[in-house]
Structure formats: structure tokens, C-alpha cells
Symmetry: C2
Subunit: 334 residues, 2 copies
Amino acid sequence: MTQAWAEKLLAGDRLALARAITWVENEDERGFSLLQAVFPHTGKAWVIGLTGAPGAGKSTLLMRLAEGFAAEGLRVGVVAVDPSSPFTGGALLGDRVRWQRRIQGDVFFRSLASRGRLGGLSRAAYDAIRLMDAAGRQVILVETVGVGQAEVDIMHAAHTVVVVLAPGLGDDIQANKAGIAEIGDLFVVHKADREGAEEAARHMRTALGLSPEARGRREGYTPPEEGGPAWFPPVLLVSSLPGKERGLEALLQALRHHRRYLEEKGLFKELTADEDRRRMEEVLSEGALKWVMDLAKEDGTLDEVLAALRRRDLDPRAAARRILARVGGEKKVP
Amino acid sequence: MTQAWAEKLLAGDRLALARAITWVENEDERGFSLLQAVFPHTGKAWVIGLTGAPGAGKSTLLMRLAEGFAAEGLRVGVVAVDPSSPFTGGALLGDRVRWQRRIQGDVFFRSLASRGRLGGLSRAAYDAIRLMDAAGRQVILVETVGVGQAEVDIMHAAHTVVVVLAPGLGDDIQANKAGIAEIGDLFVVHKADREGAEEAARHMRTALGLSPEARGRREGYTPPEEGGPAWFPPVLLVSSLPGKERGLEALLQALRHHRRYLEEKGLFKELTADEDRRRMEEVLSEGALKWVMDLAKEDGTLDEVLAALRRRDLDPRAAARRILARVGGEKKVP
């Protein structure tokens, strides 16, 4: 059965792709088998992440970018990530559906909702990206709401990260406090038709100048003066307001420059491989926890340790260590 | 040595507390030993979390609340959590230091910076809270920036969660999209001196009415009509602007009501115990991963699997499963 779905997916069938993403989102084993079957055909897509505070107009900008790439004849995928609601696991999809209908061109759109587990969302996003990749989507735009650790984690999946700002959302805060200077490859001051846009761009440029890491968000970065790659994140003014459109073509151009830079430096493949390994460690981490917990349940260690934790005789760290010592034997304790 | 530090800490010594938090923040074993030594004396502090979008004035509100509690004769602790920068691990502390100097009363202030690991920040915050708890801080205010999964995770450590909003930050977005209706026990429309505050409060009340989960953010919540606890999150208007102060006393009163409600329902101790267990599982998860990786390194499985992952013969999930199957033996595979 997996093989039949895999063939459809590799042929770019939209229904098969939609079904496959639903499976991986629901942690359905069929989705995981399918992903394994098509994995050899992945690693080709260019993944672009869009992040920034709510209200910056990321969805509008994403729509314009998707249309821009589609107009060049590229097959585009969109993964929109709604913020986690730890209780409902839900997401308001109405807006998304409206946007989706308005996008022109060959764009495959998918919204993901977190199931409330820390890390669950970024894993689902990773799987959705790889499935789109297998289905021949050449550019995949990933949108996250807000700037936080989970968002940073999702952005690891992107080759190119665009941070979207807007005037009037607290420029200092946006530029400095949220730690975004280090995660962006490109910065967009969106809603550039509004007052304060130039100032917001100036703030951002200053913040980038003050941040040595801003010159390259990749670990192991070597600055140009030491022979390393020369990429300094541009700050672009863009307006998507009908009749006052501005800067979109320059943004598309800057994105293409970044891609070329990644390829010339050999970073494009390397980033994909890094992300694959990171995901492997995440799955391994979950599996290892389950394994250790099962062993600790079998011999009664878990109950004993939980009782001590409740009595406050053991703190959480000491409790965890006791379990590891019991199930792993003294020599293997981390 | 641990014993001497533990005695100082339990006596409320501020320098010992500061040192201990630095140790746990740096993952220094001395801090972990100390936390274990004083752990039997913890579980008393009331932890109040403040969260919300940047620009809502959380720091100002936090300062007022700290002063309000201190004026009642309570020993107050503050844990301010700066957003993660995955590359610098840094945080701009200047603002915090200025605030700290301006706070009146017996308030112990501490800012934490993430070391860039997902989950690292919430673990450091947990440890800092428990150390403050041991040192006799009776109310501990925890501030996080932004609403994301990591922030939700930190908020688990709080008995009472205050979501801080402000007019003009995109009311619909704040109220609906960020999934905050479910996480707050109290909602504050801050900067209530500004235009649009009443409207923002109305938006939030509507969002709460539409969200069944909003009536109680705790898992296993039973609605009042079925005999469950009756807590409906209030939406309060507060201004901290000098000369236009408003609503702070009502907020303090609402917070005290929430605490009494938690105690009457037996939830106060339960929430503390839940959080302890959650932290134990986190430490266990890390330890289990390290253990499995070490085993896989020893027998060459890790190298072999990583090579297959690079060749795209195995996807990350299949790669993780192969490692678990090898090191755990077939029967123990998750």
C-alpha cells in the first residue's frame, strides 16, 4: 500500500500529498512509512522560513512571495504553522482558507496545528516539508507566528530565514529584545507604506551592526576577513498594500541571491543534512525516554522514585538520576 | 560544602541565593547538589506567571505587583526570562537592572538568559523558582516575553498565570490567534489609559466566552454545572502610568482570590507536584538520550546509521528506530 501512495506522491499528486501530511500530523504510522519510502527523493526543495511578531503581515507577504515564485514557473509549497494551544490543540483556520483561495498559481498550501507537545509542531512541520519536497515542490515557504524557542526550532528547517517586522510594533523590542538579529538571513520591514517604516529599518540595521553574530546565523561561521562567506543580512522595505505595492521584486531578488550564496558555499546540502540529523536525535530522544520509563516501571523503580519526589525527599533531577542508575547499571549512568 | 550553602540559603541569604541560581543556570553540579539538599523545604511559594506580547508593559506591571506584595510584608522573588538567542545565549540586561533599582521593598530579582537549547530556559527557570522557594520567597513572579511553546512550558511552573495585553497591539490577534485564552487564569488589559483599552477588554471577554477551555486551564477540569471548580478568568483594566494609575489594587485582589480558590480545591499542592514530575521526565529524557547514543557509538551503530541518513537511504525516524532496535534488543524497541 505504501508503494502505491509513494508513486502518487512522487508524481506530485495533490490529494496524495494532502493525505500524507494529515497522516504525519496525526502521527499515523502510514505517514511515517510513506515518508521513509520517498525519502531518497527528498533534499531538493529550497525551504524559506518567514517569522516575526503577530501583526507584521506575514500571511500577506507569504501570499505575494508564493505568487512571485509561481509566476517564475516554480512549484510552490506553503506550510503555515499556527501557534500551539496546549489545551485544544486547535487552530483558527478560517483566515488561512481565505488566503489560500486568493493565491494565484501552482501553490500547495497546508496549515498545521500543534498537538500541544513541545516539539510536536516542529516535527510535524519537518515531515510536511519533506513530503512536499518528495512531491516536487521546489520552493517551500514556512510561516510561523511569533518569535520564541519553538519558532527558532522550526526555522532550523529553513535554508533561508526571513524576519518580518512592521512599523509601530515597538521597533526597539522587535529589533533587540526578541533575539531575532541572529536568526534572520533577510529582514523585511513590511507595511512600508506606513509612517515609521524608514525608522524601523534604521533600528534594525543598527541592531544588526551591533550584533556580531548577525553576519551569519550558521554555527561555525567564519567572517569574510578570515576567508569565510560574505553574507550580511539586508533590511528591505516592502509594502503589499494594493496600489502602494513596493519592494517585492527586490525581496525576491535578495532571496535568489541568498540561495545562490548557499549553493556556492556548499551550505545548501549541509543545512539539509544538519536538519535531518537534528530530527533523528529528537525521535531518538523520545524513544529512549519511553524505553527507560518502561524498564523503570517493570521493576518498581518508577513508583518508588515518584513517591520520594512527592515526599520531597528527592528533587526532580536526583529522581531522574536514580531511575537511570537503576535501569542502566552504575557504569552506564550519564 | 553543600551543607554550608544550604544553611545560608534556607536562612534567606541573598548572596547565597544569587550564587545558587548562577550555578543552576550554568548547569554547575554545585547548584544541583544544593537544590537537592534544600528540596525538602520547597513547595511553599506561590508562583505567578506573567506572559503576553512584547510591548504590553509586562515589566512595568511586574514591578507594581512586586511592590504591592512587598507592601503586604511578603518576601517577593522575581524571575525574568529573556528570549533565547540561539547563537549568543545573551540577553540585554540593561533594562532589567534599571527596573530592579527602582523596585521598592523586599524583592529579590533575577534575570535568566537561555543557553540556546530548547527547554534549557524553562529548566533554569524551574530551578531558580525552587531555589527562591527554599530561600523563603513567598511570592515568585515569573515574566516571559512572547507567547510560544517554550513560554507555555515555563507557565506550567506557575500556579497562577496572568496574560498581559495592551490596546493597539492587534486585539484580535492577541485574543484569538496566540492561543492565550486557554493559558490565562487572569487577563490584564494594561495601558488602560490609552484609547482602545475598553475595546481590547471586550475582544478578550468575547474570546474567553467562545473558548470552553478558558473556564479552567487545568487538565481534567470539570465545569461548575457538573460540580467542578468555579473559576472564570476575569479581564481587568490596569494602568501603571504615573498620575493615571488604575486597577492595580483590583488585580492584587483578583490574584489573592485565585490563590484561595487553588487552595480550597486542593490544586495548589497538586500543581506543584505536577510540575516536579514534568521536570523529572525532562531530565530523564536527556539522560536516556545520552545513554542510548553512547551505546550506539560503542558498537558502531551510530556511524553506520548516520551514513545511511546522509545517503538518504534512511529517513530520520527510521534511523532513530534502527538505533533503538540495536541497543535495546528487539523486544524492548518502542
